[in-house]
């Protein structure tokens, strides 16, 4: 790769870190026009940028608002890249079905996890908030994901995670997927108790957890 291409990748990475929502799509379009492959832009500019965002967050150097700006910027880049990646037959690292459990309307944390996963190369089917066990089951049948990721932000709704896992068992789908859970009131101990495969304390570690579990 020549230096100009490297500079373009660095520029895209910098734009994501700085949350340049106005400039990002032009940078990506220009990079594609200059001959960079869509999957190179994803894996060598967007993924490292989101990894830095995640690390900074864990170190307490970046906060939710900044993370949201960067993640949304990355998503704007992915809007251009996704159709091209599909055309090129580039398979995602894995597929994740994600949602906030029934009775719970919190979406910021869950959307951040979704975006961090996308940044890490996963295809994410975001079911939104207040998602019933039946809707999770239906989405697993349709999208055949590697992971089901569930979020709950209330002590009163986190118990609904168990019902979703049971519904997946009853539908005979539990063995095909890994269940990962997160949300402020949760703990590793709670995740173990309800029979989840993994727990992540925040968006950055959720992406890392999924990558570890899938062996990527």
């Amino acid at each position: 790769m020549n230096d100009t291409k490297r500079e373009r990748l660095a520029g895209i990475q910098q734009a994501v870190l700085a949350g340049d929502m106005d400039g990002i799509q032009d940078l990506v379009t220009a990079a594609l026009a200059a001959g960079l492959e869509p999957d190179t832009i994803l894996s060598e500019a967007l993924t490292p940028a989101m990894a830095i965002v995640g690390d900074d967050y864990e170190k307490g150097e970046r906060f939710v608002p900044e993370m949201l700006i960067s993640a949304e910027t990355m998503k704007m880049a992915l809007e251009i890249l996704h159709p091209l990646l599909k055309e090129d037959g580039i398979a995602p690292v894995g597929v994740v079905v994600i949602g906030t459990v029934e009775g719970d309307l919190h979406d910021i944390g869950k959307d951040l996890v979704a975006m961090m996963l996308e940044g890490a190369g996963f295809r994410v089917e975001n079911l939104g908030v207040d998602v019933s066990p039946a809707a999770f089951v239906e989405a697993v049948r349709t999208h055949r994901p590697n992971f089901v990721a569930m979020s709950a932000l209330l002590t009163t709704t986190m118990v609904n995670m168990q019902a979703i896992i049971e519904a997946l068992c009853e539908a005979g789908l539990r063995d095909d997927i890994r269940v990962i859970v997160g949300g402020a009131p949760l703990s590793q101990e709670f995740a173990d108790r309800i029979g989840a495969d993994g727990f992540a304390a925040d968006a950055a570690s959720a992406a890392r957890l999924a990558k570890t579990l899938i062996g990527a």
Partner: protein
């Protein structure tokens, strides 16, 4: 609720000297809220605000780590503790400092309860109706619909009450002269069960009947405190109140009436009632003359309530052929857009930051609160309510302070506090998550977390603004007038609203108004005549509520407007 002898102790509350039974195991904060003693706490006992300071006389409990970190050793030695960090264990005496006025400490310490007949009536009449609003009022109660009050024989004073998620506000108005006699506000005691509406609805869901009753009791306890304070300030008697208008978001109005709000907590978020409700005071639980008439103003949807209707009326939206917008900053940031032909309304989850309730040095707009910050000769200068020593920031002071710090470069465009090594002003202390900006000595500071709270609140409101306009096919430049209301303390400085991007830079050519608490203002004005009151029903019928939660452009706008800059 009579605790048996073995799990109950007696606590003497000073300075009132009342002795009250407490349950072993509840937190001292919960106990004080339950019996109606107001502390300065604003986080609902979560241990975040460090404001519910009380003094234990004997015995003094061992300080917890948060107290050793936040209180001076002299305070600790005197027995000052955070009420939410200690549980009731033994008979004791506790001194609770008055937060704004001693009369707020004289709230009824007995447990008020709703008249049982009315409770049954309400639950049967309203719960589970899930009806579409009919756009006309109906009355509750066994007696005929209360007539329009005649000021000459049923009281010469009108009362407007704004039941907010975070704060309860009231206003007394002389009916003849339309003069405002007094304003008063207090924290909503329901905050004990969560800062936002959804958390409180979840609490009710756990035991619908008992918890609806508890939330109803708490809100009436807060209203009683507001009424006592209003009476004192106005130098008038509540017995002269002949007519009351109550506004608030739908959840709060359900709980004021003792109706379960659980249908508002799940899709399709239907209220049990939305039309205007008329009832006699004796059936409301309000401690005023029994024949006073109460109008609970109509709402629009499960999220958009009577407070916005009153606001729309107060700022005279919908009367011109040109587009105009009303923004009401509260725990729910509500927006009303008049396109020139139709009225679109929406609500965004801003959180309590605009009321400074989730802010480290935040406080209600009472004596000692900084309500304005402006730059004077390159230095921030403050105005303090009551003129004394500043003790904290109310909502308007917070918005101003962040705008000024942003202008001085102490806060970056994404909300990050300048690194201490790069700071030449000497105002930045600490780094990373612990960074803060010293505003006044060491008493009033702005933490990194405070700025994040305001970013989230501002981002939600501005995203609502952009999405609503896009929906109507309008541009910012089309807006002739923007009214920015809310009980922030003082009116925010318009230049600061542009500086932090709460308002779009292109709106600078529009007429910007800051009319204050339009919910109370409008509610009081609607009571002036039957025809005016019917306007509320008209507005409710005409408004189209939009749910932005499902709008994909909202999320993007939300992220974009996290940034604190002109855009």
């Amino acid at each position: 609720m009579n605790p048996s002898a073995c799990d109950a102790v007696r606590i003497r509350i000073l300075p009132s000297g009342t002795t009250v039974t407490a349950k072993i195991g509840e937190s001292v904060y919960e106990f004080l809220v339950r019996v109606g003693v107001d502390t300065a706490g604003v986080c609902g006992g979560a241990g975040l605000c460090h404001k519910c300071l009380v003094r234990f006389l004997d015995p003094k409990p061992t300080p917890c780590p948060e107290e050793t970190a936040h209180l001076t050793s002299a305070q600790l030695a005197q027995g000052w503790r955070l009420a939410c960090r200690h549980i009731v264990q033994t008979n004791t005496a506790i001194y609770v400092p008055a937060i704004s006025d001693p009369s707020l400490q004289r709230m009824p310490v007995t447990t008020p309860s709703a008249p049982p007949r009315l409770e049954a009536l309400r639950l049967d009449a309203l719960a589970g109706r899930h009806q579409e609003p009919q756009g006309r009022p109906y009355w509750l109660g066994s007696s005929p619909c209360p007539p329009w009050p005649d000021p000459s024989n049923t009281g010469s004073i009108r009362l407007a009450l704004d039941i907010g998620t975070t704060s309860l506000a009231g206003q007394l108005i002389d009916a003849a002269s339309r003069r405002v006699l007094a304003n008063a506000a207090t924290a909503n005691p329901q905050s004990l069960y969560g800062a936002d509406v959804m958390t409180r609805i979840r609490f009710v869901q756990q035991d619908v009947r008992a918890h609806t009753h508890e939330m109803h009791r708490l809100v009436h306890q807060g209203i009683a405190a507001v009424l006592i304070e209003l009476e004192r300030r106005a130098g008038a008697s509540l017995l002269d109140v002949g007519h009351v208008a109550i506004v608030g978001n739908p959840t709060m109005l359900h709980l004021v009436l003792g109706v379960s709000p659980v249908s508002l907590g799940r899709s399709p978020y239907q209220p049990a009632f939305a039309d205007r409700i008329v009832l006699r005071a004796e059936e409301s639980g309000l401690p005023i003359r029994s024949d006073a008439r109460i109008d609970i103003l109509p709402g629009i949807s499960g999220f958009v309530g009577a407070d916005l209707i009153a606001g729309i009326y107060a700022v005279r939206l919908c009367q011109q052929h040109e587009p105009e917008l009303l923004i009401d900053l509260g725990t729910n940031g509500e927006l009303a857009l008049w396109t020139g032909r139709e009225l679109l309304v929406t609500s965004t989850a801003a959180g309590p930051a605009f009321e400074a309730a989730s802010i480290s040095c935040g406080m209600r707009a009472v004596d000692g609160a900084i309500d304005r910050v402006i730059l004077h000769g390159g230095e921030p200068t403050y105005s303090v309510i009551g003129g004394g020593t500043p003790r904290g920031l109310c909502g308007s002071g917070l918005v101003d302070a962040i705008a000024v710090c942003r202008h001085l470069g102490l806060i970056g465009p994404h909300g990050r506090i300048l690194h201490v090594a790069e700071d030449r002003s000497g105002r930045v202390v600490g780094s990373g998550q612990d960074a803060r900006i010293v505003l006044v000595d060491d008493t009033v500071t702005l933490t990194q977390r405070d700025i994040r709270e305001l970013q989230l609140a501002k981002g939600a409101v501005r995203a609502g603004f952009d999405t609503l306009l896009a929906h109507a096919g309008l541009h910012v430049g089309d807006l002739r007038r923007i009214a920015i209301a809310g009980a922030l303390g003082s009116n925010p400085e318009p230049a600061h609203l542009f500086e932090i991007g709460l308002l779009p830079a292109e709106a600078e050519s529009a007429e910007i108004e800051a009319p204050g608490n339009t919910a109370c203002l409008g509610a009081a004005r609607l009571l002036e005549s039957p025809r005016q009151l019917e306007q509320a029903d008209h507005i409710a019928r005409a408004a189209h509520a939009m749910n932005l939660g499902t709008d994909p452009t909202f999320r993007r706008a939300f992220a974009r407007h996290m940034a604190l800059r002109r855009q």
